[in-house]
Symmetry: C2
Amino acid sequence: MHDSESPPGRRKFRGVDPDQRVAQRREQLLHAGLEAFGTRGFQASGVREICAEAKLTERYFYESFKNREALFIAVHERAAKQIEVLMVEALAIAPRNAREIPRAALRAILGTYRDDPRLARVLMIEVLRANVNDTAFVASDAFAQLIEQMTLSLYPNLTALGIDAGLIANGLYGSTIYIAVRWTLDGFKEPVEQIVEHCAVFYDSMMHELAQRESVAPPPPTPPAPVAAVSEKRRMPRRKQSAR
Amino acid sequence: MHDSESPPGRRKFRGVDPDQRVAQRREQLLHAGLEAFGTRGFQASGVREICAEAKLTERYFYESFKNREALFIAVHERAAKQIEVLMVEALAIAPRNAREIPRAALRAILGTYRDDPRLARVLMIEVLRANVNDTAFVASDAFAQLIEQMTLSLYPNLTALGIDAGLIANGLYGSTIYIAVRWTLDGFKEPVEQIVEHCAVFYDSMMHELAQRESVAPPPPTPPAPVAAVSEKRRMPRRKQSAR
DNA sequence: ACATGTTGAAAATGGTCGTTGTCAACAGCG
DNA sequence: CGCTGTTGACAACGACCATTTTCAACATGT
């Protein structure tokens, strides 16, 4: 530890200045982390291994990340962001009805998982193994948010029926995750479209079920209503991240 | 390590002979393991800690278990067996129809989880963190088996519709797990019956959806048919446990 | 060229865990 | 009683890993 006195005399190195070099190393570590966590898993990926893969030494690891978990969180965040962007793009050009919206989102997500299984593993499997937060199970990513938003906008008076839209969204999320994980662990044998359709059965059937329950209950029936547009990302932290 | 020559002079101790003493210590370790894994989690439970809780020393740990994972597997197996027995008992006295069968099973399982949250944590959460098997996600316990069996007996010609009953069962399983985990992490605030009903929505809606799809497809329609009795435990290892 | 920032390689530190061993006190049993 | 199995408490060893530190070689720019 140096004194925090003298201006730390920053200097370029091979044409790039310190901040850029740090960012570059951080990038290498993120790549290596995705590769390691996404193929060998969190537990099996030691810091040394990751550094070797990044062609860096441990010193630079701790330059950018507090510890291994911090790297995992960063890798996970980037992967989640990537998936979210792809999903939102797919939804933007999808027909705005209750049948196509889930299918568009599922196609985007599942297709991405098949194209890069490391994302599938990091986002669905390893996230549960790292001590990231106890609530990784709970609807907390963009996909789950969308489900709840969609459910609520389709059937705004579910609560009058004694149904908690959050729980339903969580269950739908779980059904998708479990099917997707099984597909992943099986090595993506079936075509994407088949998995999409199997996942979509849950969304279709839930929509029908909820529509029917509404139709035999108090408020005015709302038949095959078009779902509300997927507007801006309305991030509402459903649950506090357990502060490590 | 002794010579394996002389009959190792076994002797009683406080009225019990060696085998019983070993079994008794194993029992203590299983109890301590459930307590440790079920409250603090797998990662946070070291061998020394578990031994202290069992009021035994490490020597006796390795007498009964090869390592910490082996203990976890044993704890998990016992918990799974316990849940399975309770579920089968509940099903035995439940009305044999598609509405009550899932509810009876869900009531038994969720009630047990609320009465002993350690079981919930070990069976749903920690099992994914221990290196037990990669396929903990995949339908592999008695509950998931029941789901698939029930689905298939209700709608034997799903395959003709291009629907894989195994995937559907896996998805139903996932929806239940995710709802149950959320309930668990929330501290079991809602009453059991409310969670049962939310989980049951998925089973109800799936039954309706599949019935409708069958009715508009080739084979003869089979309206609200009674589900086949839950006969003997037909254990068919769906997937090989990753060895080691 | 010289002082200093920067890098790569690797050693040092500290902790945990699996595993084995030591030792004194105690219990069964001839 | 006295021999030996048995127990409990705990030290000891080696391995592994995360994290920190050292050090010599190299790059920069003045």
